[in-house]
């Protein structure tokens, strides 16, 4: 018996398949070539708005004046439209809704988008050696901060919480940061993207940049009156237990040089701090801890939520 297979049958079957994205999906089910890493990494960066001109993000300067912080949600539709624009390479623009090109792209959407999301959730995490978020990234919120503090406090930290998970709630949990960076080396604008709906955002000074300071200082005719607020702590090996502030602030007036009343006698100061804390030994690490002033932290709460 002979069975003959004509080319028209094959072509008809091809046309039928490419006419509907479901048919393509069914056909490709097990044999779809993997969406290569460089491609979904590239699209993941685009999803996090890397490389998008700033005036596309903020079309009018009035939306983000100097010295301002502006909170926002990311419009998933906008981002998806942009991702589709990037994905449209090789697609015929004049073609109709149901062309073969369109259907092929439509069929692969479900394959590429989870990969792009996973990749986007891992960009920042990877650079910090952390596992990426498993969120589907349906809700992304964040803020733009434009201020001279961006330049003055380069390492400022951000804590963000969703409603019901703030530190005043029983089970606090910090939100995952997708992107947190200055928009350029000399830029005064910081962009932060967060997984989920931010309810409270805390902005605080960088711990590594905490400065040395004293409580008060006055000098009249060369006579110095100065105080320092000290923290009491006890050391067991490398572990430090805090016992709260030593009150009232310790008098350090004697720790200034007579010939130059604004210059501190650092070793004398070290002795004063050591005695106030009843410590047997005192080194630069403990000095660093005592001399730093507390972390300045400001909370922003969403009033409308």
């Amino acid at each position: 018996m002979r069975t003959r297979l004509s080319r028209t049958v094959f072509q008809a079957r091809l046309t039928a398949t490419f006419a509907s994205h479901e048919a393509i999906q069914t056909t490709l089910q097990d044999v779809i070539p993997d969406f290569p890493d460089p491609l979904h990494n590239w699209m993941a960066r685009l999803k996090l708005l890397y490389g998008v001109p700033f005036n596309y993000l903020v079309p009018d300067e009035g939306m983000l004046p100097p010295e301002s912080i502006r909170f926002f949600y990311v419009d998933v539709n906008w981002v998806n439209a942009m991702l589709d624009g990037a994905y449209s390479i090789g697609r015929d623009l004049s073609s109709a809704e149901n062309s073969a090109d369109m259907n092929l792209d439509r069929a692969t959407l479900a394959h590429i988008h989870p990969k792009i999301n996973a990749s986007a959730g891992a960009i920042r995490a990877k650079s910090l050696g952390q596992p990426g978020t498993d969120s589907s990234l349906e809700v992304i919120s964040g803020f733009l901060l434009r201020s001279k503090i961006i330049g003055e406090y380069p390492g400022l930290g951000v804590y963000a919480y969703e409603k019901g998970q703030t530190p005043t709630d029983p089970t606090p949990a910090m939100m995952t940061i997708l992107r947190l960076e200055k928009l350029g080396d000399q830029s005064d604008t910081l962009l932060c993207l967060l997984v989920g709906d931010a309810f409270r955002v805390d902005i605080h000074e960088a711990p590594e940049h905490l400065h040395y300071g004293i409580f008060d200082y006055t000098a009249t005719n060369g006579t110095v009156t100065a105080h320092k607020v000290l923290q009491s702590f006890t050391k067991t090996g490398d572990n430090v237990t805090f016992n709260g502030q030593i009150k009232p602030p310790t008098d350090i007036s004697s720790c200034f040089r007579t010939v130059s009343p604004r210059t501190l006698k650092i070793s004398d100061l070290a002795t004063v701090i050591q005695n106030a804390n009843h410590l047997a030994a005192f080194d630069s690490a403990e000095m660093g801890f005592e001399m730093t002033e507390g972390v300045g932290l400001v909370s922003f709460n969403n009033q409308s939520a």
Binding site: Y56, D75, N77, L144, V259
Partner: protein, 488 residues
């Protein structure tokens, strides 16, 4: 802030570390390797020749200038040009390099016994770096003092006896008493340009730290980077914590005066450093009128106003302080705007000029990806055939909403700009298309020749789990043909 708040936030780990000592101090090293072979039975040397080799290498470290300040200095406090309330703070410099404050010593000999390899020492190690602070009052007291660092060469740090072209004269610097320039490290030339400042000894003694002070003026900090802006310089890729070192000044800034801060090297300055109360050290004349030349590695200025401008004050002043009403990313409508405009602006839209394809001009709404309220994901259906397909027309106002069209277009343009991406994407799409065609063909073959192949199209894959369907079919075909041949 509530008490439990503080407790939770303290979970952020900051570790204060006494010091990070470098594995090898800067300088030239010589490594000698020798091998002698003995006969195991006679215990005599096999050959008179001892195999040996010598290698020289140098460890370079910053000395009179920072070779790459951008990669080394993480920041100044107060910031360069900063204006604020700094009258009770000590200026500091923060470094990305965790060993920098201890790669050299202010003493003439190493100030501690080196610990055995792999171990650390608990001993205090003085730093060779110091932050000195000057202002106009010091110039008034010491006429001739120049606040701006001078451009000199390394040779100018030597007495003329060692380097004839030196401008040092009888004044002091790092290489007092030397007669040649052999104290320079590998790679340093007397002609290398550096910055330096000449301080009258009297002033230097007043404001410079003592040797004992230097034990406390530097330490290292290890912090978590999880909640900080990305900064490739803070830690190697993949590290969740960053190491920093920090060097402090010992003088408070003066209110309402411009303060000049300098990061200077005090290497081997042991004999010139003042006493605890800022007077001449023993062995020096208290009335010495000479100056001391110090290499300036960094310098910056700031201004202490006496008004509050701490971090929290600046953050609280954002959005116009407590009077500010808008914290959303949108334009604030002017009073008197129409309802349509007010609503659109509140929704984050901006009216922009729109050049129509037909040549006409109109005004259309545009809104970026960052919007003031949560928008459900179902507004656009992908894929979008063309930008026009994503343009929204509002019949009530007769205006277009071009947001998604603009998004689609910028996405396409960014993709086209990156030829590596666009080529790879196009190639991948071609392979997907080819895979579809092959799969259709295979399905067709499996259907039509089912009886010859004697396989169920649906079970073909299950039977040959190791192979792709196409390959399974080819092999099955081959087997069938062979069988046919045998039967004939």
């Amino acid at each position: 802030m509530a008490g439990d708040d503080n407790k939770y936030l303290l979970n952020e780990l900051v570790t204060f570390i006494q010091h990070h000592l470098p594995g090898l101090d800067a300088g030239a090293y010589q490594l000698s390797v020798a091998q002698t072979v003995f006969d195991s039975t006679t215990n005599k040397q096999v050959d008179d020749d001892t195999l040996q080799n010598t290698y020289t290498f140098a460890v370079q470290g910053a000395r009179f200038a920072l070779s790459n300040p951008g990669q080394t200095v993480a920041g100044f406090f107060p910031a360069d040009g900063g204006i604020g309330e700094y009258s009770t703070v000590l200026p500091h410099v923060l470094f990305y390099k965790k060993t920098l404050p201890w790669i050299r010593y202010p003493t003439l000999k190493p100030p501690f016994t080196p610990p055995p390899p792999g171990q650390d020492t608990e001993a205090d190690v003085p730093t060779w770096l110091a932050v000195l602070l000057l202002d106009e009052d010091d110039v008034a007291q010491f006429p001739g003092l120049q606040l701006k660092p001078q451009n000199v060469t390394i040779g100018d740090l030597f007495p003329p006896a060692a380097y004839a072209a030196s401008t040092l004269g009888t004044n002091l610097s790092y290489f007092q008493g030397t007669t040649d320039t052999s104290d320079l490290d590998y790679g340093e030339q007397p002609t290398d340009a550096i910055q330096a400042i000449d301080l009258p000894l009297q002033l230097f003694w007043q404001i410079a730290p003592t040797l004992a002070d230097l034990n406390f003026l530097a330490h290292a900090r290890q912090v978590s980077l999880i909640n900080k802006p990305s900064n490739p310089k803070a830690a190697p890729e993949g590290e969740p914590t960053g190491d920093f070192s920090i060097v402090f000044g010992n003088r408070l800034p003066q209110t309402q005066k411009k303060a000049y801060a300098y990061l200077v090297s005090l290497e081997a300055m042991q004999n010139y450093l003042p006493t605890d109360d800022g007077t001449a050290p023993s062995g020096m004349q208290p009335t010495d009128t000479r100056t001391i030349r110090l290499a300036v590695l960094q310098n910056w200025t700031f201004f202490s106003t006496g008004e509050n401008a701490a971090f929290t004050d600046q953050v609280l002043a954002l959005n116009g302080g407590s009077t500010g009403t808008n914290a959303n990313l949108r334009l604030v409508p002017v009073t008197g705007s129409g309802t349509v405009v007010t609503n659109a602006l509140n929704m984050g839209y901006v009216p922009l000029n729109h050049q129509l394809r037909t040549g006409g001009q109109t005004v259309s709404w545009y809104r970026g990806p960052l919007v003031p309220y949560q928008i459900p994901a179902a507004r656009v259906t992908l894929p979008i055939a063309s930008p026009d397909a994503a343009t929204v027309f509002d019949p009530t106002t007769g205006m277009f909403d071009t947001s998604y069209a603009a998004a689609w277009t910028i996405g396409r343009m960014l993709a086209l700009q990156d030829s590596a991406f666009s080529t790879a994407l196009y190639n991948w799409k071609k392979t997907v298309q080819a895979a579809t065609v092959t799969a259709v063909e295979n399905a067709l073959i499996a259907e039509k020749f089912e009886d010859i192949l004697q396989i169920e199209p649906s079970t073909a894959k299950a039977q040959e789990t190791e192979m792709s369907p196409a390959k399974a079919l080819q092999i099955k075909l081959l087997q069938t043909m062979l069988q046919t041949k045998v039967n004939q």
